[in-house]
Symmetry: D2
Subunit: 268 residues, 4 copies
């Protein structure tokens, strides 16, 4: 489990596969480099070397010694890519990771071959601020089970609840075991990093081939927020995963994989 | 502020207006007889005598001395109507109140002239059970402000948050002041009254003229749950309030009022 | 069957009921003053005097001796209202009639108490131009049955076709009998009257209380075109009729009536 | 331009690429083997040998000497695959071609590796029958330009009309040149081949890995018809192409390609 000190913080990363082409994956705010086990084999089989990374304050990476805004992760990632000698990559970000990915694309466009954005947003709406406050209240309880119960109905779709109750209840147990007080403190710092994030006007500056994935039942980042991104980024393709909520990469894993692989294929 | 002992519990009610025709309003689970101030003048002006009522464990009604299921409210309402000498009424129920209303229509159809169902459901889906668990966790904190922050993003639409941030923040303050420990205990009993509520197969038994109101952004009781009710009740009209969430009677009060008044008018 | 010469053309109109308040109804392009039989009793019972009118080149009104644009109907209507001594009215327009109604509201706002707009548009999109071309080709065949078959799949929803096949086939027969060569010539002149209709920027000038009705399956004037109108007219209420296409006043007649009556009631 | 006599009819086909894996493409009713020029390079580059084929009465294939139902194409295709020595293939069908593909999957499942179904239906609804009648009336005029104007508004989305007016007008010209009287006679025979097509109950018999593609603005085969197919075929993936109508493979060609390539990749 390699890690490297970037901008004064130990950043954990994981490389899987040995293809020439690199796929970097940036996590949603509650995820980590370990969250992608189900998807990795498909990407590596397709010839990609996958780089998973934990943001500072996330997963196995070190806590941030300083306060920061979301742009800090752009610098951390750039440092990591340079350390690894990766000059160009395909960058995929989910939700919070998608926000970081768009900022990266605006700052270091020459390091990207393609950009993949799933269930993410280009601005903080009042509704997203309210969801952030809701999850912050939940996090402050520092209880994994309560956090799961309080936060998940916004994340998974009603369709998914209907068909995967046991899986969700198992996951609730898992959360209650692995979410420590420290996890919640780190989560709260990540959550407070958004600042007044709004890059809608800058989207036209993203010129790298881009894939935008929405889910039809995503409450947090609904269709029209993804459409806004698609309309802003000229060279973007737009796809909807039906019968899925915000966690499309879990709810409809195979659909998610096939869309990503197809997009990578046409840009190969 | 009249109240009367029904089935051993003091039930609070309020009568406004003096028309011949009676409109009975059953509250959503977090509401009370006092929640309808903005809508009453339109109903009384249209010639209706409005009966607002607090369920046992709600508003100013007494706490229930016994455990009960949601059907108990049907008996309480029937007792109240008999006490008041109301032989027939138009019955309107929102969300939880809509569930009670449908049960009432199945049990005492001869007491109804029409039935109005807004943002409600004929069954407990797994998703609704999860939302129930979420709100129960929030209620157990016995803190009005936290409860508001944790529960509201599922209730109000993103559109409403965008345009009414200050109103919502004022309401958050209000909740923090008026939601007492006792309120939360009573809420939790109401919340646990659902049992295994599922009346989908019985809907064809409702023969009274019925209005079904859905909102296009209702996460809790989405369009397809209301469609299910509309398809089940033969003599039902179905209308959607656009750009609104679960709290359509607040989010789009005038649209809500006009639909109800129009429905009452064609059945007059 | 009264008619009166307005701006050099005999305009047919029909008055039903004798209430103090007046409801003027403007037809869709393929309709006429005779199309509203099913809805009239509800409006008159509610106390409205209903004025139906045929545009020049429509129904029993005279053909236009001159070429004209859609604004001509505004002047014709104004003349008719003056002739009838109607100083103020509630104006309801469907589709083409809705376009005329908005132009009337911009030109003679003092003559309106309220405005009701159903399944209409504030601009000609390229798609609407293509539909216009399609129907013009169909009209040029001067065969009622062919016209019905060619034009109706865009007008009625799939849901309506599923449940009303016989009614639609009867109507196809009716069209084949009553649509004469002259009807088609007049239709083609009405159809060519749109010019470069686009009043989106002027909608903010409409200040009269307005009701906007959309249908969820309207292909011709879909939801977003009605939303545009709602967003433009400040004092407007917006309602969706579900499971209906462009012909909402036929497909869901009772829902249509109740929304209109409710809107009139809150503005009474 | 190879052709071969199958079941007494010269069937035209075209092979592009030389991969080991075969992708067979079945056309929509108004298309032909020549319609796929824009998509072929992506498929061949990805290593597929593509077999395009014209149904009897379509494109360069011979007219049918006998009347037939849609199942006849299944036998013709089977004969062609045997003639070419193709034991197994990936079968992709659009609209009418999708109907044939599902019938093929039910009859000769051992000849399929995967099945790709775009903008198609498992049953003839009353609405589809009405559209069929509409297009038959249009075809009987035997005029390419009129046919284009009359039929296309149901096929392309309003979004596509808005952005591609010139392309559509050029295509209108093309239709007026290449659609001969014979083309229309052949079209009418294809159109009459549906019989009482309804395979909804048989979908569970399709066990081959399947991709189902819907468009959000498809009027002819709307979302719920594709959902029906997805729910019927157990091992199926479901994707929506947004801002597109029935002609998704033209309207959003790159999105269409990437979804197909991704699906083929995960089943490779």
């Amino acid at each position: 489990m390699p890690e490297v000190k970037i901008n004064g913080v130990d950043i954990f990363y994981k490389i899987t596969g040995d293809g020439d082409r690199v796929l970097v994956i940036l996590n949603g705010i509650m995820m980590s480099a370990e969250s992608w086990g189900g998807l990795l084999p498909s990407f590596t089989k397709a010839g990609y070397r996958v780089l998973n990374v934990d943001f500072r304050d996330q997963g196995k990476s070190q806590s941030s010694p300083v306060t920061y805004t979301i742009s800090q992760h752009v610098e951390d990632l750039k440092g990591l890519l340079e350390h690894l000698g990766i000059a160009k990559c395909n960058l995929m970000g989910i939700s919070y990771g998608g926000q970081v990915s768009m900022l990266f694309a605006l700052t270091y466009p020459h390091m990207l071959e393609t950009l993949i954005l799933a269930n993410t947003m280009a601005r903080l709406t009042q509704y997203l601020i309210a969801i952030g406050e809701s999850w912050d209240e939940a996090a402050k309880l520092k209880d994994g089970k309560k956090f799961f119960r309080l936060a998940m109905p916004l994340i998974y779709s009603d369709t998914f609840y209907e068909k995967n109750w046991k899986w969700l209840k198992d996951r609730e147990e898992l959360f209650s075991k692995i979410l420590t007080a420290e996890w919640f403190e780190r989560y709260l710092r990540l959550s407070s990093s958004h600042g007044d994030y709004d890059i809608v006007q800058h989207l036209t500056g993203i010129e790298v081939p881009t894939l935008v994935i929405a889910s039809d039942k995503d409450i947090i980042t609904p269709y029209h927020e993804l459409l806004l991104i698609h309309e802003g980024i000229k060279d973007s393709k737009f796809i909807i995963i039906p019968e899925a909520g915000h966690a499309s990469c879990y709810e409809k894993m195979e659909e998610f994989i096939l869309i990503v692989l197809g997009f990578l294929a046409i840009n190969d």
